[in-house]
Symmetry: C2
Subunit: 288 residues, 2 copies
């Protein structure tokens, strides 16, 4: 049973309508003054989601970045977080000082504050769980489910740079908060690239009941084989869909590239230079 | 460096005002329609917070109960939760079916829904992190900081029953939600008993800048030595303070017992039958 079957069979029946079918980057609940909160929670384990002996400041940027990226993908402004940490004997006071100093830098950069959490010591791997909350005007959150037939597909930045685990891009992902905010009135759907471009664009296709076709040669990739770049994950760029008449507004957003289109059907297809579909050995990272 | 020094030195500077100085059971943020959300997050690790090979249904009741108890202590109505789970090879589909079925029962019992989360597999101990949210009319949440000199101290239920790790009380804690709601207009401060009666009442004393004196013979304890009962933890009863004129309202709340009083000063003192202070070897469970 894979991760997605498990979610569909056992978790979806538990989810409230606020959870958007567990198909999106975050859930949406009412907030004060005509706003909504978006709320997401990701766990990160040493040796699974980050390398053993990652330095504490990089680790803080990593665990916060991946959660902030979900807030960015919803077009929300980050506000609050909670942190549960299971520490072990490798963590001394110097480590804690560096880790929390980096959290302080991140809070300042993104305008967020700590609400609470829990710190425990155990004998196992370092494990963190972050709950991140953002705020968005009611009804304005970007969902994965809004892509329309005829929309164009766009991506920010360069894909595959994080495939090098020593790269700054891997160590300290940069959540595209400003881009997410700018996309509120432009994009029909959005997702952040955490599991790999093809896998995450597949989430838009599935949630929107549509097919997405990507043109391989249009995708801005790092110096890597195409297949590795578009399935490697950890980019934390935003992929989004928008109506063709949004092209001028999108041109003002900075480094974004048009890489495909939405049509009737299902799934994601990647076309090579000859317009023939490219067969991928795997589509992205799975956690389960 | 102990848990509380760590929080004070490294985490408190990161906390927003919504976090109430990280001294309470949960943080408070604005919600819609004149309400506030209370939000808390606790991690639970196999071998630290629950016994290895706990059956999956009991485990669901445990991890949800301890988080719901924080919502109860704030006088809030439970609403939403997120769950991050790090599973391992001991977890098969039968286990998952039983675990999620129990979550479904708990959701129904407490009127809550799942908002999202994250499921990962690793080689280490089963680890869960629950983020629990409740709702309360703005300004009505019960805080640890409201105890006044002259208030009386009360406790629900019997203390120490969870010291037996095979007891229903330990396996499936019963969060005192209804009591918490009833206390909104009665109590001046409240806390749930997770780390041990003396330790948790110490949190009220510290947050309220007051001294609390308990009468040992008044404390309703299980068949255990006094010291074990009042330091063992995992009771998930509510301790609260209230003005003496609330005694009639409190009498209507069911099984609650008056066990002490609030005076000027600091810390918690437990007096024996001869009114002499009892010296405790340890005050409660520490996580760090």
């Amino acid at each position: 049973m894979n991760e997605f079957d498990f979610i569909a069979t056992y978790l979806k029946p538990l989810a409230g309508k606020e959870a958007l079918g567990l198909k999106d980057d975050a859930a949406i609940i009412p907030a004060a003054n005509g706003m909504e909160y978006v709320i997401t929670k990701d766990a990160l384990i040493e040796g699974v989601h980050f390398l053993p002996n990652t330095n504490p400041a990089d680790l803080a940027y990593k665990i916060m970045g991946v959660n902030l990226s979900d807030i960015a993908a919803m077009g929300a402004t980050p506000r609050y977080y909670l942190c549960a940490a299971c520490l072990n004997d490798a963590v001394d006071e110097k480590w804690l000082a560096a880790f929390t100093a980096a959290l302080g830098e991140i809070q300042k950069k993104y305008g967020i504050v700590l609400l609470g959490g829990d710190t425990t010591r155990h004998k196992g791997a370092l494990t963190f769980s972050i709950t991140m909350m953002g705020e968005v005007p009611a009804g304005k959150a970007l969902l994965r489910s809004g892509a329309q037939v005829g929309d164009e597909v766009w991506i920010s930045g360069i894909i595959g740079e994080a495939a090098d685990f020593t790269s700054a891009r891997y160590l300290r992902p940069e959540p595209r908060i400003a881009l997410g905010l700018a996309l509120r009135d432009i994009a029909s759907a959005a997702v952040d690239i955490s599991d790999g471009l093809v896998a995450d664009i597949g989430h838009i296709a599935a949630a929107s009941n549509a097919k997405i076709t990507l043109q391989a040669e249009a995708i801005p990739i790092a110096k890597l084989p195409l297949e590795k770049a578009i399935t490697a994950g950890d980019d934390y760029e935003l992929a989004f869909t928008a109506a063709p008449d949004k092209v001028e507004a999108i041109a003002k957003l900075g480094f974004v590239t048009r890489i495909g289109r939405v049509s009737a059907g299902a799934g994601v297809e990647v076309l090579g230079a000859n317009n023939q579909p490219i067969t991928l050995a795997k589509k992205g990272y799975t956690h389960f």
